[in-house]
Symmetry: C2
Subunit: 243 residues, 2 copies
């Protein structure tokens, strides 16, 4: 290996004075999987928006190191800030949905417990770790330099109380054919809400409507929750010309 298009994720606090200190997992990846040697070049992103060309100065399983050659432009981030609230579904399906949506440009996942959620995902433990691992993997895959966050699961009421979103879209078979003609202004936040397979309860729809959430139709075919999440993401990112 001399150069690679593989992106590695090194948190900001491991980059000190132009020296990159690889955490053990990325160090293993670098030395064992990529078989990098001193002098090879890789790309590092810090999850906070920066990307660097890095020359490897030490490639060992336990501890590897590199030196920043120059800062580069990462893949551009969407101009708007998109959050995805997704009704909890089985872990593997949640991970698939989130993997696709991070690649597309979503900035935050908020799992929501709804009346018809089939899976009561817990805030603690492996489930959240796995979703956060998906964020990292998909960020690197898509050459993004910003690490999208994963919030602990909350209810729709909590979501709507906590959030300050200028636009809220939710997937609904009776919804409008598309987003409004008016585009958001820079800095405005957009929330996409997708229910579990059973859809939203009428109580939940009332809560969404009370926040002026806009129902968007995702077509006449019945989509699984993860397909609906990806579809609404593409529609929203097209709306802002971010795809």
């Amino acid at each position: 290996m001399k150069h690679t298009t593989t992106y590695l994720y090194i948190p900001q606090d491991k980059i000190i004075n132009g020296e990159v200190h690889f955490p053990e997992d990325e160090s293993v990846h670098l030395s064992q999987v990529l078989r990098a040697k001193s002098g090879d070049e890789i790309i590092v992103v810090d999850g906070a928006g920066s990307a660097y060309r890095v020359e490897i100065t030490r490639s060992k399983q336990k501890y590897s190191r590199g030196r920043i050659i120059e800062e580069i432009n990462p893949s551009s981030e969407p101009k708007f800030n998109f959050s995805l609230a997704l009704g909890t579904i089985r872990p593997r399906r949640m991970e698939t949905a989130w993997d696709f949506c991070v690649q597309l440009g979503m900035n935050e996942l908020i799992p929501i417990h709804t009346k018809y959620s089939t899976d009561r995902m817990k805030a603690d433990g492996k489930y959240m770790d796995r979703l956060r691992a998906v964020s990292i993997r998909a960020m690197k895959q898509s050459k993004r330099a910003v690490l999208p966050g994963v919030r602990d699961p909350i209810s729709i009421s909590e979501l709507l109380l906590a959030g300050s979103f200028e636009y809220i879209f939710y997937g609904d078979s009776e919804g409008l054919p598309g987003p409004p003609l008016k585009k958001p202004r820079l800095g405005e936040r957009v929330l996409l809400v997708i229910g579990p397979e059973g859809g939203f309860s009428s109580e939940e729809i009332r809560e969404l409507e009370s926040q002026e959430a806009i129902p968007i139709s995702l077509g006449p075919r019945r989509l699984r929750a993860e397909t609906a999440a990806v579809t609404l993401s593409v529609i929203a990112l097209k709306w802002t010309n971010d795809i």
Copy 2:
């Protein structure tokens, strides 16, 4: 169980004079999973465009039977005929892509062997069976009544020689921001082409261009092949107002 929104797939030749003869797999599903009893109602699709309300007259593991009560309108099919040609990738990822795309409304999957395909999927054996099983599962999930086909893998040259497509779009980072303003006429066929992760070779691009294929950008972030396939499907189905 008295009624269900589960759709079962019974090929046309098993529906004779208003009697539905369940093949063994759907018979097991009906009797063991849904625990249907005589007198219960289910929905049956025949994969050729028809859907029926059916009353169960016999529910046994080996052989179940039902009687058509009435024909119903299935979820509407896209107005246009969409084929997806996807560079061969690992089986599970191919299946995920195809699952999403059938739900969205694609009519045909054509796996293509390209220069940079990482997986040389074989036309015979389990791989094709699994993709065809995905077609059935996703058709029932999305309440479609038309069973999308899966063709044997071919090269891009074979694809372009064989096909009669009025529109060909392919995913390309240097492509246009979207499909042309002109919409297809009813009955015209649209082919979407997505390469494997490594993209297309310059030779393959030339072949696509010689058929007036239109490159479409899927945004600045690097998408995995399955994410690209789903994204281009949403964009194309939006173009024809089929989503």
